[in-house]
């Protein structure tokens, strides 16, 4: 067994794992954070997407031991308890989900996109979602939700900049 020390959603955790244990198993089974889903288990579908050291990764294709020393954010860590991240709110408002299985992965990938491109056009959003499959929505409303979130986050950033002390 190997000891894995990592920070998950801001909380330091240490878990004993076999080297073959996947990061997604550590997240779901050892830490009980079941918002991260396992869809295909073959790094195709993106349902297991989390952030590791600030970038989106498919946690079904990362060994838990590889995450030793890393900072991991899951869907549960996107907003304070009881609140919604702008992406979560926009998926709700724009009907960016039906069954919801792919949604956590969609949101984590979209958050990676918006971190580097605050105003993506539809093509950029669709390119960014290549590694996330949705079998319900046909993607249209997911793209609309991400665009909406980008707009809201830009307005939010501008407002907080205006309100900042001079």
């Amino acid at each position: 067994m190997e000891s894995v020390a990592l920070v998950v959603n801001g909380v330091a955790r240490t878990v004993e794992v076999e080297p073959r244990r996947l990061l997604v198993q550590l997240i779901r089974e050892d830490l009980g954070l079941t918002g991260t889903h396992v869809g295909c288990d073959t790094s195709q579908c993106g349902a297991c997407t989390v952030h590791m050291d600030g970038v989106a990764v498919k946690s079904c294709t990362v060994l838990a031991v590889q995450a030793d020393g890393s900072s991991v954010t899951t869907i549960e860590g996107m907003a304070p308890e009881g609140g919604l991240h702008p992406l979560q709110a926009a998926f709700w408002e724009k009907h960016g989900l039906q069954c919801g299985f792919c949604t956590p992965g969609m949101i984590m990938t979209a958050a990676d996109l918006l971190a580097s491109d605050t105003d993506p056009d539809d093509d950029a959003i669709r390119h960014a979602l290549e590694g996330n499959f949705c079998r319900c929505t046909g993607y249209h409303n997911i793209v609309a939700a991400i665009r909406e979130a980008a707009n809201k986050m830009q307005v939010g950033a501008a407002t907080s900049a205006e309100g900042a002390p001079r």
């Binding site: 993106g46 498919k58 294709t61 990362v62 060994l63 590889q66 290549e130």
Partner: protein, 287 residues
Amino acid sequence: MSMAGFGYTRPATLDEALADLAKHGPDAKLIAGGHSLLPLMKMRLASVGHLVDIGRLRELKGIRDWNGGLAIGAATTYREVLGSALVRDRFPLLIEGLDDIGDIQVRNRGTLGGSLAHADPASDMPALALALDAELLLRSSGGERTVKVDGFFHGAFVSDLHPDEVMVEIRIPASPDGAGTSYVELTQPASGYSLVGVAVVLAKSGGTVSHVRVGVTGVADHAYRASAVESTLMGSDGGSAAIAAAAAHAADGQEVNSDIHADREYRTAMATAFTRRSVESAAARAT
């Protein structure tokens, strides 16, 4: 899917990694991003006794000037390369070719060296490296050597990298002045892998083609340089007729792959078509 058990170490230095490799012998396998290896292990197509994790070794990361070209650490991720102003400035071919690999999540983990070492016959990186005349710095506990990418691939998933070696760096020489580059691929829509991918670097001098490299992936059991295309183009005016004549040789000497996605006849035809398109595009960009 559950993998068979294995040992794991994450050495702090390259020397420690080489010692680890030597200690575990043929049972050991290197892992960096793991996006080629872990799926194979899950499907039990690869069995590994011990993984040596080199994904975080600083000695294998980063992008630096190399005689006007670039040296890219083997464990540098696609994302890091795509975000590099140096790469964008000197080798737009890499940007064009790597931006479509996998998806964001794969590009965040996958490494250039990992792709070359894995030697997947349908990967993009081998064709790009061939067109760019890249060479590889390989190190073992016994010493180091430099090899050309041309000749590095021996077959499907088989390369010249010895079991006790680590790829340290990918060295890309400066392209000739005014060279135009292009990467054009026909992808399998579901997997995104190349049925045919053609990378071209082409320069003209005094109205004739003075330098051309054509790297082809997806067509044969390993990526190759289309030498007959290159030799037909050299010295020509690089016009449409010359390009079409040269592209007809895209699969010369190759045992062309045949599968449910593209049989031999179709894939051979596409090798020619996509070689023509890629050379046309590179020639149009050459100044």
